[in-house]
């Protein structure tokens, strides 16, 4: 075993890459949950985003167009969740599971002819002089656009929730749909928009896996990242900055265990591979000790009676 083979600078740089899919999916789900909706279909929306983005990127040759397509794909799938939970008033837990099962099947079907195909590479930021700086250069200034977009999105969600009226209304709907309805806010419309936003984010997160992180298409390639993103929202106590922190933490664990595998640590590969999931459970346990700051109406069905 040779731990010195692990380069800390590259480790941090690849950590940011590994964290981005979780970050995108989790920040989207955070907005959904802030509106009082629990969408357990993140995994399904991610995998559909992954194949949509991949297919379009391969066919157009543009990863950027691929990402737009992934966002649309994720949002379209989340529209099914809207139909189930906001129109047909179905149980949100069951509907989220349905979305995930459906998304896994749909993506496998869509992706049949894309197995083994190589996607177009995503241009990385390259500012002469700055991107070449030691340490700071590879960590901060030589990633692809979507990674920076993810960071900007966290900042934007934070600002919107904290400082704007739209954010206030969203939080209000998530706290008490009855009260919001009594004040004349369109609960279903607001929640629908939040769900679509969450779907788009998850779709982009999925595409980041298939286009940047891996990059190729295999069935079921999201491998539970969507579920980790859901856990992350709990971990973050519904706070955007803590989503960022959590995503980097999980990204770090994933990258570290891959590096340890590569370095030939004397622990079987399978045990290293299960570590992100085990650590997710541990974190959930530690966090469930503290008082919940979940939106009060989370997961409850709204029906405007009379």
């Amino acid at each position: 075993m040779d731990l010195s083979a692990i380069n800390p600078v590259l480790l941090i740089a690849s950590l940011m890459v590994a964290a981005t899919p979780i970050l995108l999916a989790a920040i989207g789900e955070l907005v959904v949950e802030k509106a009082g909706v629990l969408n357990l279909g993140v995994e399904g929306m991610m995998i559909v985003g992954a194949i949509c983005g991949f297919a379009i990127a391969v066919n157009t040759g543009s990863p950027l167009v691929g990402f737009v397509a992934a966002a649309i794909g994720g949002a379209v799938l989340s529209l099914l969740f809207v139909l189930l939970t906001q129109v047909a008033l179905a149980n949100q837990v069951a509907s989220g599971l349905a979305l995930t099962l459906f998304g896994l099947g749909l993506s496998a079907l869509m992706g049949q002819s894309y197995v083994g195909v190589k996607p177009p590479a995503f241009a990385k930021l390259d500012i002469p002089g700055i991107s070449d700086l030691p340490v700071v250069g590879p960590i901060l200034f030589s990633h692809d656009l979507v990674l920076y977009f993810g960071l900007a999105l966290v900042a934007a969600v934070w600002a919107v929730l904290k400082f704007t009226r739209a954010g206030l209304i969203l939080r209000a709907v998530g706290e008490s749909h009855d009260a919001a309805h009594a004040l004349g806010y369109k609960v279903v419309r607001i929640r629908t928009m939040a769900i679509l936003f969450g779907g788009a984010c998850a779709g982009m997160g999925g595409a980041y896996i298939s286009l940047v992180r891996v990059p190729q298409w295999t069935e079921g390639m999201t491998a539970g990242v969507g579920w980790i993103a859901l856990a992350l929202v709990v971990f973050a106590s519904w706070k955007p900055w803590r989503v960022l922190l959590g995503a980097y933490l999980f990204g770090g664990i994933t990258v570290l265990q891959l590096n340890l595998q590569a370095a030939g640590v004397a622990v079987p590969v399978e045990y290293l591979a299960m570590s992100p999931y085990v650590i997710t459970i541990l974190v959930l346990v530690i966090l469930s000790q503290q008082k919940s700051s979940a939106p009060a109406a989370l997961g409850r069905i709204f029906h405007a009676s009379q």
Binding site: L40, L80, L83, L84, A88, L89, A90, N91, V93, A94, S95, L97, A98, L101, F102, G103, L104, G105, L106, A108, L109, Q112, H181, G184, E219, A223, G224, W227, I228, L230, A231, V234, P268, E270, Y271, A273, M274, Y277, V278, T280, I281, L284, V285, S288, Q289, H303, A304, S305
Partner: protein, 360 residues
């Protein structure tokens, strides 16, 4: 404008009608999907739903119906108890794997001993393994209030890695020339979950599945515990007022579903699958969720739904071979079924009315 209006009482007619309607709608939309894939929709639907039971090779497929249906029903019965009480075990796949590992592990540990008590011991080990795996989310929920949905699901991935590690390491066949996978239990008489009557597909797992259905039916309709489960799901606060101990209910529901899933895993690995291999599990733990909902969380319904779902598995395989229908199309087809079911469920509790525009 279409308005939903809450019914004073849940509609009995729709409670039975929605699964049927959902199946019909799935056939229609599934047909459209198959047509989009360039297959003749009528052929495809007939191949999936008709051929396994009445087709030329039905004598071969009919037993398969039991083989595929038994694990689905066994797992779904366990899940339905929890789902009724609002306890969401979605990690049955993991409990299924661990049950199989524990049960097979017992047999492989004493190989090549032949003894009448070995298979019963394996069943117990399988049930115990699944139970223990489900007790992790149960204990964490009771003790720390941790979300059981996420924990049970995370444990599926952990179990899959454990399975890989076992198939490649501890349980690998020493005489297997280095290939992954354990000894074949089908060739180990005392450990083989053989057909009870040759050629029928009827193995001990099928018997256990039927017993589970009857047991759950009696529990839910005649026993205090069943009443408490239903009450907790319908009105948790009222359940607490009625003296239900929520922690106990979580342990019982998750434990039961884990034990049943573990048993299903053992029956599969010692019977149809034959050996512990990296991919002996084919997603029954997840499909069982669809079965549970399709059966409206009712034991009899689950029995019927399990049969139907087994049909789509077998029919799907035939369609794959004969029509070149992709395997994923069947997954999608099953997902679609769950969708329609959830969407139509609204009719049980609400009336749809056309009304003039309404403020708010």
């Amino acid at each position: 404008m279409i308005v939903l209006e809450k019914r004073p009482q849940p509609s009995k007619l729709w409670a039975y009608g929605t699964p049927v309607l959902a199946v019909l709608l799935t056939m229609i939309f599934g047909g459209l999907l198959f047509a989009a894939l360039g297959k003749n929709p009528v052929d495809a639907i007939r191949t999936i739903f008709f051929d396994p039971v009445f087709g030329e090779f039905a004598f071969y497929y009919r037993p398969q119906l039991l083989v595929k249906g038994a694990p689905l029903v066994l797992i779904a019965i366990g899940l339905s108890l929890g789902f009724r009480a609002g306890i969401w075990n979605i990690g049955a796949e993991g409990q299924y794997i661990i049950g199989a590992l524990c049960g097979a592990g017992v047999a492989l540990a004493v190989y090549p001993l032949e003894a009448f008590w070995l298979f019963p011991l394996m069943i117990m080990a399988g049930a115990l393994g699944g139970w223990a795996w489900a007790m992790i989310p149960a204990f964490l929920k009771v003790r720390f209030g941790t979300n059981e949905i996420l924990v049970s699901l995370m444990l599926v991935y952990v179990a899959e890695q454990l399975l890989a590690s076992m198939a490649l390491g501890l349980l690998r066949n020493p005489d297997g020339f280095g290939f992954p996978g354990s000894r074949n239990l089908q060739q180990y008489p005392s450990a083989h979950n053989a057909e009870l009557i040759a050629g029928t597909g009827m193995h001990l797992g099928v018997v256990f599945a039927l017993i589970a259905v009857i047991f759950a039916y009696v529990l839910l309709s005649r026993h205090m515990l069943g009443f408490q489960i239903k009450l907790t799901g319908a009105a948790p606060r009222a359940a607490k007022f009625a003296g239900v101990n929520p922690a106990r209910l979580i342990l019982v529901c998750l434990g039961t579903s884990g034990a049943l899933a573990g048993m299903a895993g053992l029956f599969e690995v010692a019977g149809p699958a034959g050996q512990v291999s990296i991919d002996f599990n084919v997603g029954y733990g997840f499909t069982a969720i669809i079965v549970a909902f399709l059966g409206r969380l009712n034991p009899i319904g689950i029995l019927l739904a399990g049969g139907l779902m087994a049909l789509t598995y077998i029919g799907g395989e035939i369609a794959q071979g004969q029509l070149g229908l992709p395997a994923a199309a069947i997954d999608l087809f099953q997902g679609m079924l769950l969708f329609f079911l959830l969407a139509l469920d609204v009719l049980t509790n609400y009336r749809i009315r056309l009304r003039k525009g309404e403020a708010a």
